[in-house]
Symmetry: C2
Subunit: 242 residues, 2 copies
């Protein structure tokens, strides 16, 4: 069943989007980005809690997060779930669906969000014309693969403290790239969702937050996190369990 595409009353334009340095247009010339405008003509709004797409939905478009925040969730046969990623503005959703022409995971909005719809067939045609678009797209996919390998390393070898530290540093870096603070953030996801992403239970996530707070590395107030000792946090990641 096709997920309905809701047309917004006004046009989107990559060429005038302030996310173009964080999104697909990265590395493309202004003239080429204008060609992208033909392609990315539609937006869609997703209220908090709703799915952008679900595992098994037919794949016919990629999505770029414009505003808001998403998680992607993979479900196993027996019902267990794993959060495979959190996506913020400028990041692409749906890359894992190309291979089977079906979406491979659920994408759920963690807050009211808007996305740009990138019809995949058209992306293929256009990247056929624009070498730089092709190149940019390949880089996006490749970086996703490299990111996933990093997560596998984390899940395979790191202790709870290190997992959480790496997660927070990654999150705050991406937020900083989007103009927010380097040391403070408001988490969009629950402890349970963090735990699912990191291969931990929510109680462990909560305890680890408390421990990092006791050590004076973080200040934790619900979902408001302030990093007091960024160096100590980085040390946790780079020194592993020593």
């Amino acid at each position: 069943m096709l997920t309905p595409i809701r047309l917004e009353p006004f046009k989107v334009a990559c060429s005038s989007c302030n996310l173009r340095e964080l999104c697909l247009p990265l590395g493309m010339s202004p003239a080429q980005v204008e060609r992208l405008d033909e392609l990315v003509a539609n937006r869609r709004s997703i209220p908090r809690g709703d799915a952008l797409f679900r595992q098994g939905d037919p794949f016919d478009a990629l999505y770029a997060v414009r505003t808001g925040f998403f998680k992607t969730v993979l479900a196993a046969a027996d019902g267990r779930e794993q959060v495979t990623g959190f996506q913020m503005s400028g990041e692409l959703l749906g890359l894992d669906g190309i291979g089977q022409s079906l979406h491979a995971c659920d994408a759920l909005a963690l807050e009211d969000s808007t996305v740009c719809v990138i019809p995949y067939e058209q992306l293929e045609s256009l990247s056929h014309e624009l070498v730089d678009l092709q190149r940019a797209f390949h880089k996006v996919m490749s970086r996703e693969i490299a990111r996933d390998h990093g997560v596998m390393l984390l899940l395979g070898t790191a202790r709870a403290e290190e997992r959480l530290a790496a997660f927070l540093l990654n999150l705050v870096r991406r937020l900083h790239e989007r103009g927010q603070s380097m040391s403070e953030m408001i988490l969009r996801m629950t402890r349970e969702e963090i735990g699912s992403y990191l291969g931990l239970k929510l109680e462990t996530v909560s305890r680890t937050f408390s421990k990092l707070q006791d050590q004076g590395i973080l200040e934790v107030r619900q979902r408001q996190i302030r990093i007091l000792e960024p160096e100590a946090l980085k040390r946790l990641v780079s020194e592993g369990s020593c």
Copy 2:
């Protein structure tokens, strides 16, 4: 430093390669596959234990395994390592290097192997001409992303028994697609490498093999594995820890 490319005395041709249904040419017309022959002109031999490329090497080509067996390894700052994948004939190596134009992991031959060299610049140009090549390449990358997400699910939620069961079923399926037995295989990797891939210690891998043997599900003789009860093995995977 560039890894030297050794030219083989005779030409490689995708169009006459018996791996074309498992490799990049999947889904391309015979005429188009012939165009690939221009591109994939070189082979390289890698003796067992040697690296095809290493983390940080400049990226300028992808590699398709022709014969043999590889592992890819990601190293953390503190020296810990994680095997991120095992690759057999027809599978591509180096996809995670496109994004940074540097190889993101080590690729090591687990037995004497040969690979086809796919110069990346030329792959970009040619896939610019051949829509079906572009499409096939996107699918390969997308499937790698989906595979990685599956591994993340395994690492995040599964117990040792289930991890090993899923690993063995995946391996035997891929070997079967290459004409080998559905129930028997010879492992190319050590217990330690399996453990690294699955986020377990080698002792746990060994114990789990023994347990599955005691249960009559497997017959284990060193690296020779026979699956006696495929259904029981599948049940371990789909029912999780219940």
